[in-house]
Structures are given as C-alpha cells and as structure tokens.
C-alpha cells in the first residue's frame, strides 16, 4: 500500500488568476453572501436560496426530497459528482422552561463554551429570527469541570414559556449566533460557517466559468443538506444515483493544524498555499492512483495543490457503498467549527479553478 506523506505542496506558486483583483472581488462577494446566510443542519433553506441566486442564469437547479440542490451539466458518461454542504453547526431547542428560558443542544461537533455568554438568534421558518443571548456559564459552575458538558440555555427576554412560544419558538427550532464576514489582513478573512460555504462558493464560481456546451460527459453539482449530523443529504443523493456515478469529489474543509495551538504531526496545510487533496480522513481514503491523477491535473493547469491528511468525514464517503471512489478536495481552514474560522481568499479562488479544471478536464 502506498504511503501518503503528511503533506506535499505540489505547486507552491500561486497561479496568477487567483491574484487578479476582479477574481478576488468575485470570490469575496460570493463567499460573503453565503457566509451571512444561516442554515443549521435541517434548516438550510436560506443558504440554498442564496446559492440559487448566485448561479449563472443557464444553470437549471432542482431540489430533491431531502433538500439537496442539484445542477446537472453536460451529457454522457462518465458521471462525476461534486458535493459541497449547505449546512452549518449550531444548536436546536430541546426544551422551553416555564421561565421562558430555552434549553439547547448542539447540532454538529462544536465546543459549546465558545457560544456561552454570546448573542443568540433563534430561527423560524419564513420569518426573521428572534434575538436572545446564550446564558454565560457562572464562574462556580465553570470551575467545577469541563464547561462543554454544561447545559446551554438561551434567554429571549421572554416572560415565560407561553411568551416564548408566542414568539414562534418551538422544540426543534435551530439556534445560532449572529455572524459577519470580516476581512482580515492581506488575503485572509474570518467568519462562522466557512465550513462549508467556501466549498459551496467554489462550486458556484466554477459553474459560472464553465461552458456547458463544451462538456463531453455528465457533471452533477450537489449542495447537500445535513452533512454535519451524519452526511444525511449526501446519503440520499448517493442512493438516488446508485451505480451511475464514476467518481465523487467532496468539496469541503481541510481542517488545518496551521496554528501554534495544534499538534503538528499531521494536517499542517498552510493557509494561502492552495487547495488540499484530502487524501485521508476519518471517513475515506483516496485511491492513490486517483490522488496522483489529481496532482498531475493541478500541475498541468499550474494550480497550487497541497496533499494532506486530516480529521472529520466528508460527503463523498456516502457514495462509497456503491463502489464510487471519493476524491475529496478541500482548502485549509483554521479554527474549524468555531465562531472565528479563518481562510485565505486565494485558496478559495484556486479551489474554484481546480473544481472547474477537474469538471472539464478529468
């Protein structure tokens, strides 16, 4: 079996296109629009609509019964699938107390302590969210053990349970904190839910540059739901497609250890050095021959590509039960699943170019 090195930088030089000011502006505009939409797993409609608004006019999209968004381009075989997920981590309401306080539990893997004592938004279908605050941990409770196991509650300023319910809050309502896309120094940016709005943005930008008439095979772009709670949307799409698919590419975060806080024995993909072939994670191992092909394609197009291993699962692995090889492609992200995820816009632009190159030329 081939040994996968922890990290290889296949093409360290950034391609000129990603440095183009117009390209960077487009990247930022698309990403900002998606990042500032809310969509905890199971409540992805606002993000799905944001993606739809950003698609090129020629792209005909459909929504399946699971809630996934599909755009199919080209005809004939092979059939290649790209999948980025629409949802984000957050909370859901599990109880409403007589005092009007909401008890919430996390949806997806997070450190709840990062939300304690922060503003909250309780989302309602088709209506603006209700504002509140996540209760802070009191110092006594916080000193007795790990805070992440303490119950999380939300105060809406409601006078009691009936008041909270009258605001449109119910069991299962999803809860987040307000978020904002913020540009940092250089080409870096921060916000929440970059995982996987970056992947979603890259697929949008790739589609904008593709000429569907020139494709000689079928490419399906999927924006999936409920990835963070078990790849549920991707699993539904995989079942629908069955054995038709030749290859799948999850376009999702490469959780990077590019930070002094992280152990440095794997996942050290520096921000700004390009997209990352997610060669091994907790859900899949990329077949070595396909990894080599991806590296060769990136090199031929002068696109930077890192190769690395990280933790987490990816939507492409849901297709593997049908014998579909998964070749996930990510981009390096710091502080994944926190309120302050940080990415490099050059990586986002290069990711879009790589998705386009793979869709058209592999």
């Amino acid at each position: 079996m081939r040994t996968i090195l922890p990290l290889l930088v296949a093409m360290p030089l950034a391609a000129a296109a990603a440095q183009d000011p117009a390209r960077m502006r487009e990247t930022e505009t698309v990403l900002e629009s998606l990042v500032e939409s809310y969509g905890v797993s199971g409540m992805e409609a606002p993000v799905r609509e944001a993606v739809r608004r950003l698609l090129p006019a020629w792209a005909k999209s459909q929504v399946d019964t699971a809630g996934n968004l599909w755009v199919t381009v080209g005809k004939g075989e092979p059939t290649v699938v790209f999948v980025a997920h629409l949802d984000e981590v957050g909370f859901e309401v599990t109880a409403i107390g007589e005092d009007g306080l909401l008890t919430v539990e996390s949806r997806g893997g997070i450190f709840p302590r990062l939300w304690a004592g922060r503003p909250a938004l309780v989302h309602r279908r088709g209506r603006p969210p209700v504002a509140g605050v996540f209760l802070p941990y009191d110092s006594a409770a916080a000193s007795t053990g790990p805070t992440d196991s303490l119950p999380m509650r939300v105060d809406l300023g409601a006078a009691g349970r009936r008041h909270a319910e009258a605001l449109g809050v119910s069991l299962g309502s999803t809860v987040t904190s307000p978020k904002e896309y913020v540009r940092l120094a250089g080409t870096r940016a921060t916000g929440r839910s970059f995982d996987d709005r970056v992947g979603s943005a890259a697929q949008v930008m790739a589609l904008r540059r593709m000429d569907p008439a020139k494709l000689d095979h079928t490419v399906i772009f999927l924006w999936s739901v409920r990835e963070e709670i078990g790849l549920e949307g991707a699993a539904a799409a995989a079942r629908a497609l069955g054995l038709r698919v030749t290859r799948v590419h999850a376009i999702d975060t490469f959780v990077s250890a590019d930070s002094p806080l992280e152990p440095q024995n794997f996942a050290v993909a520096p921000l700004g050095a390009g997209p990352v072939a997610r060669a091994l994670d907790n859900s899949s191992v990329t077949p070595p021959a396909l990894l080599d092909s991806l590296v060769a394609l990136a090199a031929a197009r002068s696109l930077p590509l890192q190769v690395g291993t990280t933790n987490g699962g990816n939507d492409g692995s849901a297709f593997e039960q049908f014998g579909v090889p998964d070749v996930p492609i990510g981009w390096p992200l710091r502080y994944a699943h926190s309120p302050v995820e940080v990415a490099d816009l050059r990586d986002v632009a290069h990711l879009a170019e790589l998705v386009q190159a793979v869709a058209e030329g592999w």
């Binding site: 004592g117 605050v133 913020v182 120094a185 250089g186 996942a267 990280t310 710091r334 502080y335 926190s338």
Partner: protein, 298 residues
C-alpha cells in the same frame, strides 16, 4: 428580529459609548468622544472629562468611569501572531476565558484592526488528550491575518495597542440591549444625557451650589481618575458614583474630599460578560434621575 420600541436620544448615546474601546490607561478615544458630546467640558490633568455647572460653595460631584478592563498587545511574534497581557487592575479568569475563539478589536492610531483569538479545531482534538487547565490570557494567540511581524507593524499595531473583544451590540426582548461593559457604558450615557440638560439644571440650582460632572479615567487602576478629581476639584459635600466600580464607603475613607458618597447604577443581567444586559427604558429613567440630582431637585 423581534419588534423593538421607538428609539430615544439616550439609546443612541448607549450605542455610541458602548462601541468605543477604552482600556484602562488608554481611554483617549472615549475621552475625545465625551468632550465632543459635552460642550464646555474640559480635560483635567489626569485625563478626566469634567463639566462644571454653577460656582457656589456647596459642591457636589457625579462621576462615571470611562475605562474598561482589557488587554494590550504584549508581543508581536516573528510569525505574525500577537500575544496579550492584561491591562493593570483586576481582571478575572472568567474574563480571560471569554477571549477564546472570539473576534477582537485592536486599536491603532489608524483605526481598529480586526483579529481573532485562536482556538483548537474540534476535529483535531479527537482521540487526543483533552486540554488541561482553563483558558487564560497566556493562552491567547491573536491572528490578524498577518504572516510576519512586518505585516503586523504595517497595520499600525504596536506593543501596547489596546485589545478588547469586538464591540457588538445586541438588541433582544423588550428593549433590552447586551454588550461588553454595558452597565457602565449605559450609566455613562445616562449621565451624558443628564449633563446635556444643563440649562434646566442652571435654572433650578441655587447660587450656593455647584455640580461637577465627570467621566473618570483609570478607574480599574485604583480609581486614579477619581482620586485626582478629589484632590484637584474637591472638597465636595456629596459624591454620586454611577456605573459601578467599588463601594461608596471605600471611596469616602480613601478620599475624604469626596464627602458622603452614594452609588447609583443600573440593574441588569449577566454582568461582566459579553452579553451584559440592561433595559433601555431603565437607562432613560436613570438619565431622568441624574438630571434631577444635578438640578438639585432630588
């Protein structure tokens, strides 16, 4: 968002003051803002903002602290990360812990630079030993997007640049507003609103009275601004402390020039957290109370 009631002038004052970073000893922006808000106010030798109404021998003082506990840049690493140190005064570990994984503002002469405090990715902790000990300021690494010390310095960031959690204001419930140091900032806003009614106060103040309205610096550092005021503008017959920061008895014993000292503040929720919450109608009520106190009718 839920519907909110009509905005009043004091609401805007709360918003403006609560948006300003004024780490202890580095309150320049707050002081400049207050001076601009209060025609006739002056900066004293400590840096306090002082407005005096009347010139009678019976002197009263009302003060609100202008500063806040916070941090400064302690070091700029060669790889572009910043480390922090606490500003002087008492800062709890709970306040330190609030930094982890949050956006911060770094104040420079050119404006506010956004940054984030690093946090481990939840994915990369799987199967590994859990973190030991709580998060303290010594764990805080600030990422501004720079990759070198030169990049950081080009942003105008220096050692000593003030750092606080990003100032977000959040409305919820029935005219509630949440944010860092909200109780103190809202109390100061109420005092500004009251001080702006000086024409009314002058009409009701007897010729025997004078009122000094002050916004004091370095309150978290042994209440130095208040001490200077006591020494330079006292003695006072009566002092009213608004906006928290110590007890009246301590102030009286430390600085007899303050006369009898009373405390007035806003009762809120979640004090000392980023969602410290107060009611905007209560701020209006405090402004009315302070205006009456300044005018000598209460």
């Amino acid at each position: 968002m839920a519907a909110q009631g009509p905005a009043r002038p004091v609401d805007d004052l709360v918003r403006r003051l609560a948006s300003i970073t004024a780490v202890t000893g580095l309150e320049q922006q707050m002081v400049d803002t207050l001076l601009a808000m209060l025609p006739g106010a002056k900066r004293d030798r400590a840096g306090n903002v002082v407005l005096t109404i009347g010139s009678g021998p019976r002197r009263r003082l009302v003060v609100c602290p202008a500063d806040e506990p916070g941090y400064v840049v302690g070091r700029i690493r060669d790889d572009g990360w910043l480390t922090l140190r606490r500003s002087p005064g008492r800062i709890s570990r709970l306040r330190d812990a609030q930094l982890e994984g949050q956006r911060v503002s770094i104040v420079t002469p050119r404006g506010v630079v956004p940054g984030v405090v690093a946090v481990r990715s939840v994915h990369l902790t799987r199967g590994r030993e859990p973190r030991t000990g709580g998060f303290t300021v010594d764990s805080a690494l600030v990422d501004v997007g720079a990759t070198s010390k030169a990049d950081v310095e080009a942003l105008g960031i220096r050692i000593l640049s003030p750092v606080t959690l990003a100032k977000g204001l959040h409305r919820y419930g029935d005219r509630l507003i949440a944010g860092s140091m909200m109780g103190r900032r809202a109390a100061c806003a109420a005092l500004v609103e009251a001080a702006r009614r000086t024409d009314a106060a002058r009409a009701t103040l007897s010729r025997q009275q004078a009122v000094v309205i002050a916004f004091v610096v370095e309150h978290e550092l042994g209440r130095r601004g208040l001490a200077t005021l006591a020494h330079t503008a006292g003695p006072f017959d009566q002092t009213l402390l608004v906006g928290g920061g110590g007890s009246g008895a301590d102030a009286t014993s430390n600085w007899p020039e303050l006369g009898s000292v009373a405390i007035q503040g806003l009762v809120g929720r979640y004090a000392g957290t980023p969602v410290e919450t107060i009611s905007l109608p209560a701020v209006q009520g405090l402004a009315d109370t302070l205006a009456a106190w300044i005018g000598g009718t209460r």
